[in-house]
């Protein structure tokens, strides 16, 4: 099927990069590196990779973070624009939708481009979970609990994943572990094939005990993972539960950014667009099962585009938890090992720096599009704490048409 064009100008994803993802731990890659510096690394790399783009043409820098304080606190889009050496005339803002932060940075700037408010934007996100553990400094309104607006478990992401296992008994721990092991293997293969490194920006990292080093590869993956080994892991969120450190995404430090333009601006500047934005949508679900969020958001985005799930040739789904991806796949009738889904592996292997992940999905989808000119449409989707989902549908600019 051919998608229904959305109102406004056509918006394209011209390029995307990310830092290597590090362990959010005192011995992690970025323990002594600032979160805003990770964003700066991405912004500068995008400008370097796209010399056809005059920096003064960047009209907005939107950067997301789930915690907006400390080194993620100073209006990230504006402060990182200045730190990256963009002209003072470039405005910017900070944005937050927790795990869909970078995705929201993309869709919000894309909407501005579509209505003609601007031509070129940089959008991305960062989460230094080592500096900012999820929920640190939060002060949830007591009414959530006293009026039973949400269950206390809704704010513990691991417990929401357990709740998904409860809701769908067919989503067993065995299926989750098998999915997780496959994610690790797919990622290891993609790294070996050079499909991951091509969009990484290395980051010089300070180490007061070791001196300067260079973060040039992700450090969270466990390629040696087997289903058998996963079966032995403990379930920290519930005794005899199903969610483990092995079938969930690890705590991660990292940043992402991408370059969005109006399609006509890309043509004017001579940029090579990789993907065309087809539609996007967000949707809310019960916070206790926040992992279901991508289902209604994807249905909504597909409906807007006039497409069915069968039209989608590639899926980049954030693997906050294996069970959450599996609930999506079951809903749409897609097999657990469908090769259209997360061909390079996912967050279980790579890591999930909350607000940064959305653009990682897009950057990977863009690379897969270039490898698969037979695929016309792809989906990037992720779930969001407190019960949301976000989905963006993309069209492959390298699509070669019906044969």
């Amino acid at each position: 099927m051919v998608h229904t064009p959305q109102p406004g100008r056509s918006v394209v994803f011209a390029d995307g990069v990310r830092t290597p993802f590090g362990k959010a731990r005192p011995d992690g890659l970025y323990a002594e590196t600032r979160a805003d510096d990770l964003v700066v690394a991405c912004l500068r790399e995008l400008l370097r990779r796209n010399p056809a783009l005059p920096p003064e043409r960047v009209e907005e820098v939107a950067i997301a973070a789930a915690t907006q304080s400390g080194d993620q606190g100073l209006v990230l889009g504006r402060s990182t624009a200045l730190l990256a050496g963009l002209p003072v005339t470039t405005p910017g803002y900070a944005i937050d939708r927790w795990c869909a932060g970078a995705m929201t940075a993309v869709t919000t700037t894309a909407a501005s481009i579509a209505v003609g408010a601007l031509d070129v934007a940089l959008a991305g996100g960062v989460e230094h979970m080592g500096h900012h553990p999820l929920g640190a400094g939060m002060d949830p309104n007591p009414r959530f609990l006293t009026e039973r607006i949400v269950s206390p478990d809704a704010l513990d992401m691991g417990k929401t994943a357990e709740a998904l296992h409860d809701r769908f008994p067919q989503l067993t721990r065995q299926r989750a572990d098998a999915y997780a092991a496959a994610s690790q293997q797919k990622f290891a293969k993609a790294v070996a094939n050079g499909q991951v490194g091509a969009d990484l920006v290395p980051v010089a990292v300070a180490g007061s005990a070791q001196g300067w080093g260079l973060a040039s590869a992700d450090e969270l993956a466990r390629p040696e993972t087997t289903v058998e080994a996963l079966a032995g892991l403990r379930t920290p969120f519930r005794p005899h539960g199903r969610v483990t450190a092995g079938n969930a995404s690890p705590l991660t430090d990292g940043a992402t950014a991408c370059l969005l333009t109006a399609e006509e601006t890309a043509a004017e500047l001579g940029l090579a667009p990789r993907m065309r934005l087809v539609s996007f949508a967000y949707a809310g679900v019960q916070p206790e099962v926040m992992g279901l969020g991508p289902i209604p958001s994807t249905e909504k985005a597909l409906a807007k585009a006039g497409l069915g799930v069968d039209d989608i040739g590639l899926f980049e789904l954030n693997e906050a938890f294996a069970v959450q991806v599996l609930s999506f796949l079951d809903h749409f009738g897609i097999p657990d090992d469908d090769e259209r889904v997360n061909p390079y592996g996912g967050a279980i292997a790579i890591g999930h720096p909350l607000a940064a992940s959305g653009v990682r999905l897009m950057t990977q989808l863009a690379r897969q599009f270039s490898e698969h000119p037979e695929v016309r449409y792809g989906v990037t989707a992720l779930c969001v704490g407190l019960g949301q989902g976000g989905t963006v549908v993309w069209e492959n600019t390298a699509w070669e048409g019906e044969r």
Binding site: S208, G211, S216
Partner: protein
């Protein structure tokens, strides 16, 4: 101060790894202290290089890199350790150790890269020069070879490497011209332009880009072009230029610049090992020389000692200064007003007796602000702010809002007393009053005040925007709050303040005048003017005596002589020839620029005796007079110690570091013992 060694994958094109390298980080472990090379760190760097070399063999590394931390690459040799070097043999051994350690960076089996992230002085820059390639951060500041300024040579390979990398012209510029210009340093972009660094990258991702560049050099994609050996004419011109600079600056009086030039000259044909041996020999001589000890002493004085002025009250006693009054709108007063305005950025009110003078003063300040704007020292908004912050009035009541009022009216005690008397009821009760006098007794000015505790002397040196010294004068009645405020203001003005007791002509003028008086005595006795002028070359002063007198103004000189002759008639006098010179309008007796020559103005002006002195006799008499006067200054308790005298002379009149100001020199030449029977400083 650890030297870290870490291995990393070089980033190749498209994110592909381009081989592994070892990266050494020079890390002081303390962001407030720079990394230096001393008895502990030099061997540690050697061990780190050795570890990297072993990794090259064991793990097939393709390169070794060196970088720094916290905006510092390496601040060079640890001066404290240098100052302890006891014998010529050990001094030469220090040189040999430096060559052995740093030289390894040039002899490894893989290329070496210095990533100069910031400050790189002396041995720090030499560390980079030993490497095969250098990148530099565009934000780096403080690159240079200051050795000749301190009394040393760049003796860890610098005199051999720098001309080979960047040519003799650049070597002379960095090691001689910049070093002797008060230790001027260059920036990262300048280093790249001069060919000292092969590539420059912005600080935001300096190390990443340096590593990428490393990969591209190793892959043969980036090619570094270096100038070939310079021809003889280029060498000769560069060395001649260096010699002229050295002569103008130290008049042959300090050995270090000349040894540096000799080494640069020899480097043209000398082999590496042979030349390094020559550097070590030079270090062996210079490290134990009196000039170096004095240089290190004076360097420490201005860098560290003077930052916490001896005897100053606790800084927290200072009152906040939010508005400054300047009484007088003459040239000195206007210069002060501009300085206060520029540095303190608070409203400045000028007053004088008639409107024309007030207008002239305010105009002077406003055009001074325009000049700062034109030079890029301030931006347009600041210029607007400053111009709007200066005002003038003929009514001293306009000073009512000022918390710090400095008077700079005519240098006459009665006039100044009148001004202070008139001022006191008009200003805030807690306002600090300061008098800018060069030789009048502050105590007598205080005597006319109801509240003498708030008067301080605040003696600037001309030109006030340039010379970094202020003598802060305490009278017996000055209280700690007023004094602390004066020190705080002086510091905000960017000046080094020295606390002096109220005594005739304080320190700088008292000692300089004693010296000049001795010079005039020699002239009076019939010594030819030029003989007199050349006699003090050994002191390395920025100007010969009569050049300085012309610069200061003969009338001002006469005034200070009169003050001191009145205070100390047994030692100071006023020469009739000095009076004649002033009476004749004070024409320049010698040329103001270039080689010192007579202008002819002295012809028939003076009445002189017929017992001329030789240059060495004049010098000896000056040494003796200085030793005597400095001892008296100390015995009178004018300042806390000889260090304060030396700070005053280095910063107030530009005495060179290699004399240590004056007291180490007087000890070294024996004048202090000859005249007073004891030294100023203990013998080593």
């Amino acid at each position: 101060m650890p030297v870290h060694v870490r291995t990393l994958d070089l980033p190749g094109p498209g994110g592909a790894p381009a081989g592994r390298m070892a990266l050494l980080t020079l890390d002081s472990g303390d962001p407030r202290r720079p990394f230096t090379l001393g008895p502990a760190t030099l061997p540690e760097l050697g061990a780190a290089i050795e570890r990297a070399e072993r990794l090259v063999l064991d793990e097939g590394l393709v390169a070794i890199g060196v970088t720094g931390a916290n905006g510092v690459f390496c601040a060079g040799a640890d001066l404290k350790a240098v100052a302890r070097t006891p014998s010529p043999e050990e001094a030469a051994a220090t040189g040999a150790l430096g060559h052995a350690v740093l030289g390894r960076l040039a002899t490894t089996t893989v290329p070496t890269f210095a990533y100069v992230n910031g400050l790189a002085l002396g041995g720090g820059l030499e560390t980079a020069l030993h490497c095969s390639y250098r990148t530099v951060s565009t934000a780096a500041r403080g690159l240079g070879l200051p050795e000749a300024h301190l009394g040393l040579v760049p003796g860890w390979g610098g005199t051999w490497l720098l001309p080979r990398i960047a040519g003799p012209d650049v070597a002379v510029q960095v090691a001689i011209e910049n070093a002797l210009a008060g230790n001027k340093t260059i920036t990262g972009p300048q280093a790249a332009r001069l060919g000292i660094a092969d590539a420059a990258f912005e600080p935001a991702d300096f190390l990443l880009q340096s590593l990428r560049w490393t990969a591209s050099v190793l892959a043969g994609e980036s090619v570094v072009e270096r100038p070939g050996p310079a021809d003889e004419a280029t060498w000769a011109a560069a060395l001649a230029r260096g010699r002229a600079v050295a002569d103008a600056r130290v008049h042959g009086a300090a050995p270090a610049p000349y040894r540096t030039l000799d080494l640069l000259a020899a480097s043209r044909t000398a082999g590496r090992e042979e030349h390094f041996a020559a550097e070590e020999a030079a270090l062996g001589d210079l490290l134990v020389s009196g000039e170096l000890r004095a240089g290190l002493y004076a360097f420490d004085l201005v860098q560290r000692y003077a930052k916490a002025p001896a005897g100053a009250p606790a800084p927290e006693l200072a009152r906040k200064v939010t508005c400054v009054g300047v009484v007088g709108a003459g040239l000195m007063a206007s210069q002060l007003a501009l300085l206060f305005l520029h540095r303190l950025k608070v409203p400045v009110v000028l007053t004088d007796v008639d409107q024309a003078r007030v207008d002239k003063g305010v105009d002077f300040v406003r055009s001074g602000v325009e000049e700062l704007l034109g030079k890029g020292r301030i931006d347009a908004d600041t210029a607007n702010r400053l111009k709007a912050s200066v005002s003038g009035s003929v009514d001293k009541a306009a000073l009512g809002g000022a918390d710090f009022v400095v008077e700079a009216v005519f240098e006459d005690l009665a006039v100044k007393q009148d001004v202070l008397r008139e001022l006191e009821p008009l200003v805030r009760p807690d306002a600090v009053l300061a008098t800018n006098t060069s030789s009048l007794p502050v105590t007598e000015m205080a005597s006319v005040l109801q509240h003498p505790e708030r008067l301080v002397g605040f003696h600037f040196f001309n030109p006030v925007a340039v010379l970094p010294l202020v003598e802060v004068v305490r009278t017996p009645s000055t209280d700690d709050a007023a004094l602390a405020t004066a020190f705080a203001v002086g510091r905000s003005l960017g000046k080094t303040c020295v606390l002096v007791r109220d005594a005739p002509a304080f320190v700088v003028n008292r000692i300089s005048t004693r010296m000049f008086d001795e010079v005039v005595r020699a002239l009076d006795a019939g010594t030819p003017l030029l003989e007199v002028e050349r006699s003090l070359d050994e002191l390395g002063l920025p100007m010969t005596p009569f050049r300085l007198a012309s610069f200061v103004g003969p009338a001002v000189m006469l005034h200070v002589h009169e003050t001191l002759a009145a205070a100390f008639p047994e030692r100071y006098r006023v020469s009739d020839n000095l009076r004649r010179w002033v009476a004749a309008g004070g024409p320049d007796l010698v040329t103001r620029k270039g080689p010192v020559e007579e202008t002819g103005a002295a012809e028939g002006l003076f009445t002189t005796g017929s017992q001329p002195l030789s240059g060495p006799e004049v010098l000896a008499r000056v040494q003796d007079a200085l030793a005597d006067e400095v001892r008296r200054v100390l015995d009178d308790g004018v300042v806390a110690g000889p260090q304060d005298v030396d700070v005053c002379l280095v910063l107030g009149t530009g005495h060179p570091l290699f004399t240590g100001g004056i007291t180490p020199y007087l000890d070294r030449v024996g004048a202090s013992e000859r005249v007073t029977g004891r030294r100023f400083h203990p013998a080593d």
